[in-house]
């Protein structure tokens, strides 16, 4: 084998892609909250998103 490094590198890459696809894994995982109370359904405004208020206007020329 003339390219043992490339062989290893390529196999690792294929393995990572296969794992990512199989498990639905992503490096850009979204934030997760646990134990969101069921009362949120009755009062959605009580939910405190980690993204609330982070939006900004970027449109327009």
């Amino acid at each position: 084998m003339r390219n043992p490094f490339f062989l290893t590198y390529g196999l690792i890459l294929l393995g990572l892609v296969g794992y990512a696809e199989y498990s639905g894994w992503s490096p850009t995982a979204v934030n997760q909250l646990r134990n969101v109370p069921k009362t949120i359904r009755d009062n959605p405004g009580a939910y405190r998103s980690q993204y609330g208020g982070f939006h900004r206007y970027i449109g327009g020329k």
Binding site: S26, K38, G52, Y57, G60
Partner: protein
């Protein structure tokens, strides 16, 4: 194998007296030696006849000791050879940057030669066959000998500047000969051409370490400098091999993409349209109905489609598991603007967007949605938006990223190989502006 070849008897050298200084001169090549340099007075003696005569008297500025001492024995092709002669040759017009040549002798095999330049060595044997012109590459000549084709590399006039020991020809200091080099690494075809004859020899590249091992010399060989004309490229075969492997990986990647695309559910689990009035007062957030996300833990794609027109909307989203209370919290801004100005029509942004939420376990879910738009940059017309959720969607970006990463090693190897060859040919006549060894 002939035992005489494998273990040749050590033969005592023949001794003569120098006719100039009377000093003893040893002849290790016996009748094969046509000239020898007196180690005492440095006269070059003609030994081709029993009456030894002075061929040339040489005034030397300093005695140069060969790296391989004359009389040393080294083994090449399973045959021992003795170093009996040494000469330094310079390129005419470029004196002081010469190369060394050693004459090796085995009484049963005859003469071989070693050439050394800046730590690069070639083991050379003279050829009785004549090299023949082969098909040219552009204007560059090629020569063929014994089934191997060599590319023209350089040509020059070589001048012998220093001699020591014995030679199978009548050597002279100051002797000039036209030399042409053609290469097929690790081999080099060298022609020494005079008006009367052309002598061809084929050399094979040796590292200093190999020479040191062959002669069992003490210490380590001096490090080689630069890239030599017949130095084998460390990338020979690796470029093609890397691209073949790359092709295999890309095929495997495509097969994997096909497999996962076929296997993926890509199933719609939720789809609903909503509208939002910018600047409206009151609680904007709401929750959707329950929907089931099935299958193994995988991604959920949220697709947002709007009717935005010179406006924007920010959707603060949470995908909440109704049973466990686990929430995937994310947000997306969608904006689309267009118009006409002095540069013509323009547009930016898009009316739709999507996000993939990875690693979502199966279960009963609902969405908590909080649309935002301050209403300052748009009319207060309602913004319609549609939310569609799909389960277990193939992530094509993985394959594109992997394909690009897989291309890096062969490209890198190709570039390194090309750099090596560029460095090799930079020393040749075939750099821009050079016309040597090219036909008109």
């Amino acid at each position: 194998m002939n035992s005489a070849l494998a273990n040749p008897p050590v033969v005592k050298p023949k001794a003569i007296s120098c006719p100039n200084c009377g000093g003893p001169v040893e002849l290790r090549g016996f009748a094969n030696t046509l000239s020898v340099v007196c180690p005492s007075c440095h006269s070059i003696l003609d030994t081709s006849t029993p009456a030894v005569r002075i061929l040339q008297q040489v005034q030397i500025a300093e005695r140069i000791q060969p790296t391989i001492p004359l009389g040393s024995r080294g083994t090449f092709e399973n045959t021992p050879y003795e170093a009996i002669g040494y000469q330094i040759r310079d390129t005419l017009g470029d004196e002081g940057d010469g190369w060394s040549e050693y004459v090796l002798f085995n009484p049963y095999k005859g003469f071989r030669y070693l050439a050394e330049y800046k730590g690069h060595w070639s083991y050379i044997r003279a050829q009785t066959a004549f090299a023949q012109p082969a098909t040219k590459i552009g204007t560059r000549r090629q020569m063929a000998l014994l089934g191997r084709v060599y590319k023209a590399f350089d040509s020059a006039t070589a001048v012998t500047s220093y001699v020591l020991g014995e030679f199978p020809w009548r050597v002279k200091v100051g002797e000039r000969v036209r030399v042409e080099d053609y290469i097929a690494p690790p081999h080099v075809l060298s022609g020494e051409i005079t008006s009367n004859e052309a002598v061809w020899s084929v050399g094979e590249y040796y590292t200093g370490a190999q020479i040191w091992q062959a002669f069992k010399l003490p210490g380590a060989a001096p490090a080689a400098s630069g890239i030599y004309l017949n130095q084998p490229s460390p990338y020979t075969g690796r470029v093609g091999s890397a691209w073949n492997l790359c092709l295999l990986f890309l095929v495997a990647l495509a097969a994997m993409a096909f497999f996962f695309a076929v296997r993926a559910q890509d199933k719609q689990v939720f789809d609903h349209s909503y509208s939002f009035v910018p600047g409206s007062t009151g609680e904007a957030s709401f929750v959707t109905d329950y929907f089931d996300v099935t299958g193994k833990t995988s991604n959920v794609q949220v697709k947002i489609d709007t009717d935005l027109d010179n406006s924007w909307i920010y959707l603060n989203l949470a995908l909440i598991n109704a049973d466990t209370g686990q929430a995937f919290d994310f947000g997306r801004e969608v904006s689309y603007y267009h118009g006409v100005d002095s540069d013509g029509s323009w547009s930016e942004g898009s009316t739709h967007s999507s996000v993939k939420v990875p690693g979502v376990p199966p279960g009963r879910y609902y969405l908590r949605v909080e649309p935002e738009n301050d209403g300052t940059n748009s009319s207060r017309l309602p913004i319609r938006y549609d939310l569609e959720l799909r389960r277990d969607v193939p992530t094509w970006s993985w394959y594109w990223i992997a394909a690009v990463l897989i291309l890096i090693p062969p490209i890198f190897t190709t570039v390194r190989s090309a750099s090596f060859e560029t460095a090799r040919w930079r020393e040749s006549d075939f750099v821009p502006g050079h016309a040597a060894l090219e036909d008109d």
